[in-house]
Amino acid sequence: MAISTNKFRFKFQSNNNKFAWLQNQISLVRKDASREHIRFVFLDFNDIGFLEPFHITALACLLEELYQLDKDITIEYSQNEPGCQYLKKINFFNFWSDENYDRKNFMPPTITSSFGLWQISPEMIDNYGNSAQKYFEDNFLTDSCLDSLKIALTELFNNIFDHANSPIKGFVYCQYYRNIEKIKFAVCDFGVGIPNSINKFLMNKQEPQVSDQEALVKAFQNRFSTQSTPQNRGWGLHTLSKVVNVSNGKITLHSNNASLTIENAFIKTYRQTEAFQGTIFEVHLDVNTFDSLDDVAVLEY
């Protein structure tokens, strides 16, 4: 990395530790490239390595933030580097380099197992969820019902618009991994972060602050809500965890100074020494748990 006069250069590198990658690369670039005197940003993707939805959405938010700050962004990549080839195939670079690219619509990429990168907008929440569900049902999981995918996506989209206060819209990316029989998706935003949002709510109610780890756990508690809109009842993340648990899945969440995982209904939290200004969810769903298309349940309550 080099900072000189009005130029900023950074070379991304692969890292198996996702949170370390988030901190040491994404957050670092955000901090230094966004300084007012920086006009030109050069990002080298040549060693970026294997990318998952987690990485894609974080990178997208980063580039969008720099784009909105009116930085002159140059992306350096080799056609031969697998990570770069992958990004090209999912139309990643088009978002910031192709003036004719329609950012509001989701464009299926040439990697058919991926549903493509999309910048979340309130008007398209339902449409994206339905379309992602239908895409994977029609093309890969033809006898299965992917209601859990739609519900999980929609809960996270609503969560962003209800709570994030993000200056840039978030991004979502979804992919089917046939070899491990999972659908993975990630949703990232650069908003205030869940712990900050919860502690601000508690402060306004003159209640004691909680640690970032405790705040993430609280966010999943049923009926806990910061009441950012009159309709909030605190069901969103609780519903997400229920659906993911039934789908034998996993949730990983990073926000501010904490991380959280939920797997088999078991919650683990981790304190992070460096803060991530924003929220990133990564969700895995086991395709073997999906119901058949024709299944109907009897609901007694």
């Binding site: 309130p122 929440i125 339902d126 449409n127 969820g129 339905n130 569900q133 019902c145 209601d147 859990s148 739609k150 519900i151 929609t154 809960e155 989209f157 609503n158 209800d162 049923n222 009926r223 809109t229 309709q231 909030n232 009842r233 069901w235 969103g236 609780h238 519903t239 229920k242 659906v243 039934v246 119901d291 299944d295 109907v296 349940a297 009897v298 609901l299 007694e300 309550y301």
Partner: protein, 101 residues
């Protein structure tokens, strides 16, 4: 006095099932029926998966207004796909302690 069963097919009266605002037509239909003490069959035939926001502004408001017991007595839910049934059951049963406002 309890009257005849009124069937409401969710997919026929709402345009989508993800947002609070989309739930309004369902809220109106349910409210009208419950206020009249009608038996309601709430059908999720061909209905896309529902979000908690959608439920908050439809079924949730009914549970808050009329209470769990009256809702349970008057409303039956049919034609649910399994994951929607799981979400609905969990949502409704969590309101067990609510009495009507």
């Amino acid at each position: 006095m309890i009257n005849h069963t009124h069937r409401i097919t969710v997919s026929e009266i709402v345009s989508e099932t993800s947002s609070n605002s989309a739930a309004y037509p369902l809220h109106l239909e349910l409210d009208k029926a419950l206020m009249s003490n009608e038996l309601v069959e709430l059908s999720f035939l061909n209905c896309p998966a529902v979000s908690s926001s959608f439920l908050n502004s439809s079924i949730g408001l009914m549970l808050e207004k009329y209470g769990y017991e009256k809702f349970r007595k008057l409303v039956s839910i049919t034609n649910c796909r399994p994951m929607i049934a799981i979400v609905l059951k969990s949502y409704i049963e969590e309101h067990k302690n609510l009495v009507s406002i």
